[in-house]
């Protein structure tokens, strides 16, 4: 069940990034932190290039097996399928909010609202996966299913294809985000440089 391990790792990373953005937005709103727009852009890029473009396709591979083994979970799978397919619109809304803020810092609320909607979506999305679908996968998939899925996940993990097909080391990017994010959520603050 290495595939489940990878999904669990990725959920923790994504939740940590969302937590960090939320913390920084609250601190900025309270006048306690100066915004690092490049850090926000890098975190939003991580959400797009990693969560939406790398993580969700792996989950699709996994979720596709369930209807082959059990009738349960059909409604949840249908909902998750629609949510995964709506990634471009979801990211566009978040990126637009950030772009407006970068262009005009009086539009902070645009980004804060867009982020709140995105984070709330993600919270419910992960809960649906972890409360409903992953337990069903654990119960119904066979050992052969897991062998095949683990191999498929390993192949995907080694592909390293990032946004627009470029190679990208997401582990290194994550470490840079931690390094630049302000204490107490990170080891910074330090300016994020591209």
């Amino acid at each position: 069940m290495e595939a489940l391990h990878i999904i669990g790792e990725e959920h923790q990373s994504l939740a940590a990034i969302l937590h960090a953005i939320r913390f920084m937005l609250k601190e900025i709103a309270a006048g306690k932190l100066e915004a690092d727009l490049k850090l926000f852009q890098a975190m939003v890029h991580y959400l797009d290039a990693y969560a939406e473009k790398r993580h969700h396709p792996k989950e699709d591979l996994l979720f596709r097996r369930l209807p082959q083994r059990a009738a349960e979970g059909a409604e949840a799978l249908a909902k998750l399928g629609l949510q995964h397919a709506a990634a471009p619109q979801r990211m566009a809304a978040l990126e637009l909010g950030l772009a407006n803020y970068v262009a005009d810092n009086s539009r902070f609320d645009d980004f804060a609202r867009a982020f709140d909607a995105y984070a709330e979506f993600y919270r419910e999305h992960m809960m649906l996966e972890e409360d409903v679908v992953l337990p069903l996968l654990r119960s119904h998939l066979t050992a052969d299913d897991w062998t095949e899925l683990d191999a498929a996940f390993r192949a995907e993990m080694s592909a390293k294809s990032g946004k627009d097909g470029k190679e990208e080391d997401f582990s290194a990017l994550f470490s840079r985000l931690v390094d630049c994010a302000p204490a107490p959520i990170g080891f910074g603050p330090r300016p994020f440089a591209n």
């Binding site: 391990h5 669990g8 923790q12 940590a16 919270r123 994550f174 931690v178 204490a183």
Partner: protein, 249 residues
Amino acid sequence: MSGKVLVVKDLSVAYGKVEAVSKISLEVGEGKIVTVIGPNGAGKTTTLSAIMGLLPSTGQVAFDGSIEQVPEVERMVVRGMNLVPEKRELFGTMTIEDNLLLGAFQRNRHGHRDHLQTMEEVYALFPRLKERRLQQAGTMSGGERQMLAVGRALMAKPKLLMLDEPSLGLAPLIVREIFRIISELRRRGVSILLVEQNARAALQVADYAYVLENGAVKMQGEAEMLRNDPRVIESYLGLASKHQEMLAT
């Protein structure tokens, strides 16, 4: 005991008449991460402290092939066991570099003169410590203090590194980074005994796990098996509620 850095048999610890840990047995294989998870008050820290010789205990502790009837902390450090305590216990008015050098004290006293090279290895693992090496440890953030505490332990070149709640009080972003570093230490051959309340993070990184409740081992097995065990999931992993907490306003 081939391939085992640590073998603990029937370890018991009592505070007065109250038995905090009762006949615990556990093992740590070479180059492995073994985690002990369990709720607050289960006896996790007490277990580490007894293995290290910080608390009197009964039972048997075999470390690196030799049995210690009565573990003594100085002897355990010299033999290559090191503990990163929950409270980090750094010297706040000393510089980061001096705190690191203290970690090599016992090794230095026994004639090893490789502390500068070891410090460079620690700096390579934690570049932030090198940047701030002349600053007082008391000026560091929580995440940086945890880095320094681990770095100081590594200065002793331990065969077994014991980590007591390394994620305690740290934000999710830093917790992920700390656990990435723990994985990196395993890749470098360090054997690790990891005590954690954050079972989700611990089971993701560990090879083998023990579940401690009320001072006794209730479950044990490969970490992958426990990660997918419905009892562990229900009692310790918190599943979606964990994300709910992390994403809550």
